[in-house]
């Protein structure tokens, strides 16, 4: 019983981790917390669904969707975020909350509020039995993708020139510009990449949640919980935070009643943040005076 709850917690936790990775990507690259991340992913999932309905295969639709997601992220950066990014954190939060609301209601406007199934070729085969515990294959797929992206992101930010340049831009724009980093191009790239990551997460999640304009907002809350728990600037933290939130939420649901799942996850974050304000794996930033 307990072990099964833990495993099913890990399954949903890997989803949260995936979204949390997209949040970490953008926070590390641009120092912005994107409240619209989940809703942007939801729009890309709707685009994928529309393409598949128009007759494209899953993989063709998936490819097109990734391109669309990159464009969406780039457009958001170029035409909205760039004009506020020099301002206070408060202004940025307000603007991404605005983007969240716009994406959510536009999707409802365009595609309606009736949840639709999302077919996927990745979900198939009988569930596996590992020592008495039942695990669906799809859970393993999601977990594998999450871990792969985590490793890729870690490598990208630690060892590649572009990744290091992005971190530099997030930390100090003026100094980066003086070092010859094309700052604007880096910001654009961060947003595009993060939107692509969100789309990957969205397409993986969609078969489980179904697709409707509010499908991702619940997930996003968990993703935030995960990212904050693990530390907003740590890819490893995002995945581990996701798994932790998933397990805690599932155990709370099983033993304390499912209505309070989210509240419990929230209490957990507050608890962790009070002890470690930068999250479990995050780095506290020093304030310049």
């Amino acid at each position: 019983m307990l072990l099964e709850q833990v495993v099913s917690g890990l399954a949903s936790g890997s989803l949260y981790g995936l979204f949390a990775l997209a949040l970490v990507m953008i926070y590390r690259g641009t120092d912005v917390v994107n409240f619209a991340q989940g809703e942007m992913a939801m729009i890309t999932v709707f685009v994928a669904l529309t393409l598949m309905k128009a007759g494209l295969s899953f993989w063709a639709a998936f490819g097109c969707t990734l391109v669309f997601a990159a464009l969406l992220g780039a457009v958001a950066e170029r035409f909205i975020i760039r004009y506020v990014s020099q301002g206070a954190v408060l202004n940025l939060v307000i603007v991404t909350v605005g983007m969240f609301t716009v994406c959510n209601s536009l999707a409802g406007w365009i595609w309606g509020y009736i949840p639709e199934p999302f077919p996927t070729p990745l979900e198939g085969g009988a569930p596996l039995r590992l020592g008495g515990i039942v695990v669906t294959r799809y859970t393993l797929v999601i977990l594998a993708v999450a871990v792969t992206i985590m490793v890729l992101l870690y490598t990208f930010f630690t060892f590649t020139t572009v990744g290091i340049a992005m971190r530099a831009v997030a930390q100090n724009r003026t100094a980066s510009r003086l070092m010859g980093i094309p700052v604007n191009r880096m910001l654009l790239l961060s947003w595009a990449l993060s939107s692509v990551l969100g789309a990957v997460a969205g397409v993986l999640v969609a078969p489980l949640t179904y697709v409707d304009p509010n499908a991702m907002s619940g997930l996003l809350v968990y993703a935030f919980a995960s990212a904050v728990l693990g530390g907003l600037d740590s890819p490893v933290g995002a995945v581990i935070g996701g798994l932790l939130v998933g397990v805690v939420e599932n155990l709370a649901g099983a033993y304390l009643g499912s209505e309070l799942k989210l509240s419990f996850a929230f209490a957990l974050i507050v608890g962790v943040l009070v002890i470690r304000p930068a999250g479990l794996f995050g780095h506290a930033r020093l304030k310049k005076v």
């Binding site: 004009y83 939060v93 909350v97 809350v221 989210l262 929230f266 009070v274 304000p277 304030k287």
Partner: protein, 350 residues
Amino acid sequence: MGIRVAAWVAGALVLVTAPFVLDPYYRFLVTMMIVYSVVAVGLNLLTGYSGQISLGHGAFLAIGAYTTAIVVARFDVMPYAPAILLGAVVTALAGLGLGFPALRLSGPYLAIVTVGFSIAVPQVLLKFEWLTGGVQGILVPTPPAPGALARWIEAEQWVYLLALAPAAALAAIAANLFRTGAGRALVALRDSEVAAQSVGISLRRYKLLAFTLSAFYTGLAGGLYTLAVGFVSPDSFTLLTSIQFLAMIVVGGLGSVFGSILGAVVITLLPNYASEISKAAPWAIYGAVLIVFMIFLPTGLAGLFRRLIARRPAGARQTGASAQTSIHRGGVRDDSQQPHPTPQAAPERD
């Protein structure tokens, strides 16, 4: 001076006679504007003046509204007037509680925690059904005017007046708060925590004060909400409610009491017109408004008015600047402003 006093008197007269002139639909709408003005002023105390973002004010409103509904209607243990005050006090305590983690968190982290708060509270309301009535919510009858007044004043008109009185008082307190030491300490902390602390301002005390005060305003508005709407349910207090409040102060102007009220009026009116286009339209517009104002008009409508007034010759300045405490948001510094409203404040003494 004469013009200014006349404007205040005229404004007060219009507001007091409005419930007797307007038809029931518009009377309700204006009542809601008053209720939401209190929330917006409260949120602005926290976000605009103290620089602490909150996406949790929908939850604060819920706490105030439910406290009032529970003691007035569900258990019928208290008349409505002290119940509203009780709701405000309970909410203030909740605000104090949220203030403690907020002491250690900044910017995006705080925003996320308040999002969690505004999602958790409706869940808790659903869970404790014996207290809150669960999904069904609680029906609260509109209280009639007391005693002999009931002969002339209908219940809905009475509720309107009941909302107007504390709203006016709270707006006046907020507008004058920034002439006090505490108010200035909040602004100082917002503009630079390090600098403020180094001149001896206690970060802990004033941040907690900001949260408590802001929650008090919102909780009181919650009690008024209960009486005006006559019904509370968890669905009425979602994350979107909190976003709506944020939109109010962004539209009206961060750090302006006058702006908060203006924003509450605009955002309350908007769904009436926008929902004719589509059910999703009001929300799309709220979102767009948040983005557009932050990019093009970060000081909101109040900032726009201030700039228009500043362009006129000096002698004509006084009327519009009445409720303003000319305060800028970090990052959107408006250099034409004095840091504090001493010149505008002077005429009030005579």
